[in-house]
């Protein structure tokens, strides 16, 4: 079975027409993983009972009609999303042997549709990073070039879909952690509106920014997964109470596309720029009106992000103290138990961000840093709100460069942070954005994917997907 051509859509068709069984499907993906994942390391754990699950689905296939859209679909799940009874490491030594005691709401929703979980994927530790090099369990390689990173923090999920080790995957995005690896691996990735998808069961990094979202081969597939995982949840007070997503058709004729001039300034790789401009031209040829806009506070997004996120991280990771779960380094005194457990359990980037956040929130600095950053956040939100008064969608490159080499940016934290320059403002504003493949650039003999980012207004996923599906038809992706 040629799984490289499979999408959720054609799998669903194939299963219902009895062209293949769920067991054959899952077998094929598992064979691909056994053969190819040792070189890629997309997965931290592959579930051995997936074939048994597949068998159960096949029994149901005999008797039922009207199966849910994701029935029998093999998916990979980022290892910061909890599945009851399975290990959840968050890519960290401090949770190396931790077993989740409940299902994340998104997992419950996917289980209700009959999804098959193939395993848990690799990530930067506690979702902190843009390359998956910060995983405590080794990096993931970009399927397009083994010397290069897949992006991060959801590098494992992006690579799994790109390498055909899953039909779709879930990741999480706090500053670009779905969109950036999607762009670097040549797949589709969506960060939903903050509050569109429940965070219950997502190991928290920055609670005011985190969102779970899908990776898929096509925009339509991503939409199908989004529809399954979105919606209200009593366990997440920040999940919108009345949001329900409806697919709508799109047409590029007559829509206005905002092109932020700040996203095409210095730092953007010339070849990536050319690919994006080609994509925009095609949109224009299809009837869209391109309109240069300004997001004047763009330059403040990254600095604001690197105050807000570490601050929230310092609070969210205080629970990892060796007492109730996870690694414990026992010492004579309680304080030392905390201090040595955390020193042994956390990697460098995690420690860096906890320290930064502790400092920013400490007495005397809270107003100067955290409050100031939250004010900038209001200004950034207003930039987008103003823009969406005149445009239907905002478009630009997802990342400033294609995939970089391992260790290229690990010496300087700031160099690594700059990978998220076009993605972080979207999280700060809480609005949805999708990255879709826009073609390939060539670097040192390697063909590397680049991503086009489309940004929508708050809870505007219907319109965003409608437009993205039309764009997908006209830009070459392979």
């Amino acid at each position: 079975m040629d799984i490289s051509k499979l999408t959720i859509k054609n799998i669903a068709g194939g299963l219902r027409k009895k062209e293949f069984s769920v067991t054959e499907l899952v077998s094929s993906y598992r064979d691909a993983i056994v053969k190819g994942d040792p070189a890629i390391h997309a997965y931290l754990e592959v579930f051995d009972d997936a074939l048994h699950e597949a068998g159960e689905r096949d029994k149901m296939l005999q008797s039922s009609s009207g199966l849910p859209p994701l029935f029998g679909i093999p998916m990979a799940i980022k290892d910061n999303i909890m599945i009851e009874g399975r290990r959840a490491t968050a890519g960290s030594c401090i949770l190396e042997n931790y077993t989740a005691t409940y299902d994340a709401t998104v997992i419950t929703k996917l289980k209700n549709q009959g999804v098959i979980f193939l395993g848990k994927t690799n990530l930067d530790e506690f979702a902190m990073g843009s390359s998956t090099e910060n995983s405590a369990f080794g990096p993931t390689k970009n399927p397009h070039d083994a010397d290069r990173v897949p992006g991060g923090s959801s590098g494992g999920s992006a690579a799994a879909v790109a390498a055909n080790f899953a039909a779709a995957a879930l990741g999480s995005d706090t500053g670009g952690s779905i969109r950036q690896p999607a762009a670097l691996c040549g797949v589709v990735g969506l960060k939903p509106t903050y509050g569109a998808v429940s965070r219950h069961g997502l190991i928290a990094m920055a609670s005011s920014l985190d969102q779970i979202g899908p990776f898929a081969k096509t925009v339509e597939d991503a939409e199908t997964v989004f529809r399954a995982i979105s919606g209200p949840d009593a366990f997440d007070a920040t999940a919108a109470k009345d949001y329900s997503f409806r697919e709508i058709g799109g047409d590029l004729k007559g829509i206005t596309v905002g092109i932020p001039k700040e996203y095409f300034a210095e730092g953007l790789d010339q070849e990536v720029k050319a690919l994006i401009q080609t994509a925009l031209k095609k949109m224009e040829n299809a009837g869209a009106h391109l309109h240069e806009i300004s997001l004047p506070h763009t330059a403040f997004a990254l600095p604001a992000y690197y105050i807000v996120v570490p601050s929230e991280v310092s609070a969210n990771l205080a629970r990892f103290d060796g007492i109730r779960y996870g690694l414990r380094r026992d010492k004579e005194k309680l304080f030392d138990t905390y201090a040595h457990t955390r020193a042994a359990g956390f990697g460098a980037e995690v420690k860096r961000r906890i320290m930064l956040g502790t400092y920013a929130l400490s007495a005397g600095y809270y107003d100067a840093y955290y409050v100031k950053a939250q004010k900038i956040r209001t200004l950034i939100r207003q930039d987008f709100e103003k823009a969406f008064l005149t445009v239907d969608v905002i478009a630009g490159p997802t990342t400033p460069t294609p995939a970089f080499r391992f260790n290229e940016k690990t010496d300087d934290p700031l160099a690594m942070y700059l990978n998220d320059i076009y993605t972080v403002a979207v999280n700060l504003a809480g609005i949805p954005a999708i990255s879709m493949p826009a073609g390939f650039v060539e670097k040192d003999g390697s063909k590397l994917p680049a991503g086009l980012q489309l940004v929508g207004s708050r809870f505007g996923e219907s319109k965003l997907f409608g437009i993205a599906k039309e764009v997908e038809k006209i830009i070459p992706t392979r």
């Binding site: 007070a237 600095p303 105050i307 309680l334 400092y359 950053a373 939250q374 900038i376 956040r377 300087d412």
Partner: protein, 98 residues
């Protein structure tokens, strides 16, 4: 804003993370560099701007003050299984008071 080794020691104490001598020097350099970068925020005029209150626009999301046990029913065994050191259903810790 420059972070000294002494600052790093103070922050590490607040953050409850044991840091070695070499690490302290490295963190001082890295944190200073990042804080230098975020100084950029001071260039923004935020005079009459209200700080954002988190990521949601929802306010005062309440529910009735009733126990909702269903989700945790029967989970005690699993939850206790994760405890590094325990006696029955008690979590063992070092003395809280010195």
């Amino acid at each position: 804003m420059s972070i000294s080794k002494k600052d790093v020691e103070h922050i590490a104490k607040l953050a409850r993370i044991e840091i070695g001598e070499k690490e302290k020097e490295r963190f001082a350099v890295e944190l200073s560099s990042i804080l230098g970068f975020v100084e950029k925020l001071n260039e923004a005029d935020t005079a009459d701007i209200k700080p954002a209150a988190g990521g949601t626009l929802l306010e005062n999301e309440m529910r009735p003050d009733e126990a909702v046990d269903a989700a945790l029913d029967g989970k005690q065994v699993e939850i206790l299984a994760a405890v590094p050191e325990r006696k029955d259903s008690w979590v063992k810790v070092r003395s809280v008071f010195e």
